[in-house]
């Protein structure tokens, strides 16, 4: 910072994108002028406007071209097939979320509370699939429960009967569980490390039985982590596509239905209506959680099976 040849005072620069600078308002000392700030924002703004806002608006307009006009928006509720698919997707996603929360709640707390040989290895292994794409997760399910899978071979050797469940909704459930475990376990461990052991001791010394300590002390402490990672689980399971695509194309979950409507039936209006409904649901879940737990809670959405 020794030689500053030309001292450019940012504030005196001509304000280039007028509308933007008024959006940003007055500059504070030290920060660039509104014009510079607007210039800095411009690339991001263009990307979001041209490739997200406009396309989304067009999709919303395309829906009205559907067979039922504006009523196409509600096709997800009015057509039995779509409604059944919605219910199935909701039930499966809810099931995955609850299972992942219970399993990871127990194991995450256990890993934080106990020190034993191999603990770090176990933690590292549990977070291994963090950035596996959905297709790979699907393949892992096939390895586990497919025709040549471990479970099939073991049951074949034990009872002479091959158990195969990879290519149906059970397989999808297992896949989303596989995908969710690393995320939830990280969130649980992060919250568990912040728990105050003294609170628990106090509860115990006052004579609280274990189940009450868990219910009244431990669970409330873990809640923010559980809720936010649970929401991510749920939203991913609702909207994910790769795993279902790898396992079987006839699993009737909502993303698969949208895909078939669009590609096989060229039913663009219905596919658009269903996508908007699905997008609104996943966004609402994540937004509700952010309001509930505070900002930054859902930042780890990464991946998408």
């Amino acid at each position: 910072m020794s030689s500053v040849e030309h001292i450019k005072e940012g504030r005196s620069r001509p304000s280039f994108p007028w509308a933007l600078s008024s959006l940003i308002g007055q500059g504070t000392p030290g920060a660039g002028s509104p014009a510079i700030l607007a210039l800095l924002m411009l690339p991001g703004l263009i990307i979001v406007a041209a490739f997200f806002i406009i396309p989304m608006a067009l999709v919303a307009m395309r829906v009205a071209d559907g067979p039922d006009g504006l009523a196409t928006y509600f096709v997800i509720l009015t057509h039995d097939r779509y409604l059944a698919s919605l219910i199935q997707t909701l039930v499966m996603s809810g099931g995955v979320t609850v299972t992942a929360l219970v399993l990871c709640g127990i194991c995450g707390l256990f890993l934080v509370r106990n020190r034993f040989a191999g603990r770090n290895v176990i933690t590292a292994l549990l977070t291994l699939p963090l950035s596996f794409p959905g297709t790979v997760v699907g393949f892992m399910v096939i390895m586990l429960a497919g025709r040549q899978g471990v479970i099939g071979s073991v049951t074949d050797a034990l009872w002479g009967e091959k158990i195969v469940f990879a290519y149906e909704i059970t397989g999808l459930f297992v896949g989303y569980l596989y995908f969710s475990i690393p995320r939830v376990i990280l969130a649980v461990m992060a919250s568990a490390e912040k728990l105050d052991p003294q609170l628990e001791e106090a509860a115990r010394s006052l004579g609280a039985p274990t189940w009450r300590v868990v219910r009244d002390v431990i669970l409330p402490g873990l809640m923010p982590g559980l809720v936010s990672s649970g929401a991510i689980c749920f939203a991913t399971a609702m909207g994910a596509f790769g795993t279902a695509f790898t396992l079987a194309t006839d699993i009737d979950v909502l993303p698969m239905v949208i895909y078939t409507e669009f590609t096989r039936n060229a039913n663009i209006a219905v596919a658009a209506a269903l996508s908007i409904a699905l997008g609104a649901m996943t966004w609402a879940v994540l937004a509700a959680v952010r309001v509930f737990v505070g900002n930054g809670a859902t930042s780890g959405t990464g991946g998408g099976a």
Partner: protein, 272 residues
């Protein structure tokens, strides 16, 4: 600490969960280097399948790496300045914009791809080029870059740094590139790793956006799973693991270092 049946029950559950995660990974890695999966490991080990995958899918793998790099460049150029503005000038409009920016992460990739197809599907030169896939990847990864950089920027005392530099006579661009960017490096690095990892693995959007001539690594994977023998799919998965592991390890190391350096910056949640 007393170790009773509860300890062992929890340990047992943890190990079962761990096996659930690890067994398929190991199985698929082994299947990728086994001569014949149906006969098992006794049929011998080979790299034949890995080479065969390379012959079949080298194009897809290289395209994915190229798109990931291009995606990184775009998200850096657009994301770092954006993060700066979001942190420096918080307002209600800005929060609204941030929400819009993050939406592509929250809504399913399929819906996003559909929107892009409906809007730009008719622009033939664009639709059939890799730039179309890049567009989807940028939309999906930009929020991660912005959040990662903004988290670090929010934690540092930007105002003091900037006023200090300004009082020494540094103009805005000099302050931005000489003070702000170097100080935000951990966030930029974490965001960059995240963007590359996500882009390499992206499937939901890419499957809808790709053409037969623009297949990426995960699209090739889906293709191999569906139509090739199990060994080929496994070998391809193995190649993917080998590509992605260094990125993951680097991310973890970065997160650990960040945690140790400053407890205030909770990058682990953003990067992982």
């Amino acid at each position: 600490m007393r170790r009773d049946w509860k300890f062992y029950a929890q340990l047992g559950l943890t190990i079962v969960l761990c096996l659930f995660i690890v067994v398929p990974v190991v199985m698929s890695a082994l299947a990728g280097v086994t001569v014949n999966v149906f006969k098992g490991l006794s049929s011998g080990l080979t790299l034949r399948w890995v080479f065969e995958v390379w012959d079949l899918y080298a194009q897809s793998i290289l395209l994915s790496l190229g798109i990931a790099m291009a995606c990184l460049v775009v998200t850096l150029l657009a994301g770092v300045p954006l993060a700066y503005v979001l942190v420096r000038r918080p307002s209600r409009m800005m929060r609204l914009f941030e929400e819009l920016l993050t939406l592509p992460v929250a809504i399913p990739g399929l819906a996003l791809a559909l929107a892009l197809l409906i809007t730009y599907g008719g622009v033939s030169g664009y639709r059939s080029s890799w730039l179309f896939i890049l567009t989807g990847h940028v939309l999906f990864t930009l929020p991660f870059m912005v959040r990662s950089v903004a988290a670090v920027m929010a934690a540092m005392d930007m105002k003091m740094l900037e006023e200090g530099a300004a009082s020494l006579g540094a103009g805005f661009w000099r302050r931005f590139f000489g003070v702000i960017v170097p100080n935000a490096k951990p966030g930029i690095l974490a965001g960059a790793l995240m963007v590359v990892t996500l882009s390499i693995g992206e499937f939901n959007l890419t499957w809808m956006l790709h053409t037969p001539l623009t297949k990426t690594l995960p699209v090739g994977l889906a293709d191999a799973y569906a139509s090739m023998r199990l060994e080929i799919g496994s070998a391809y998965t193995l190649i993917f693991f080998v590509l992605i592991m260094p990125l993951l390890i680097a991310m973890q190391a970065l997160a650990d270092r960040g945690k140790r350096a400053s407890r205030r910056i909770d990058t682990a949640e953003d990067t992982l």
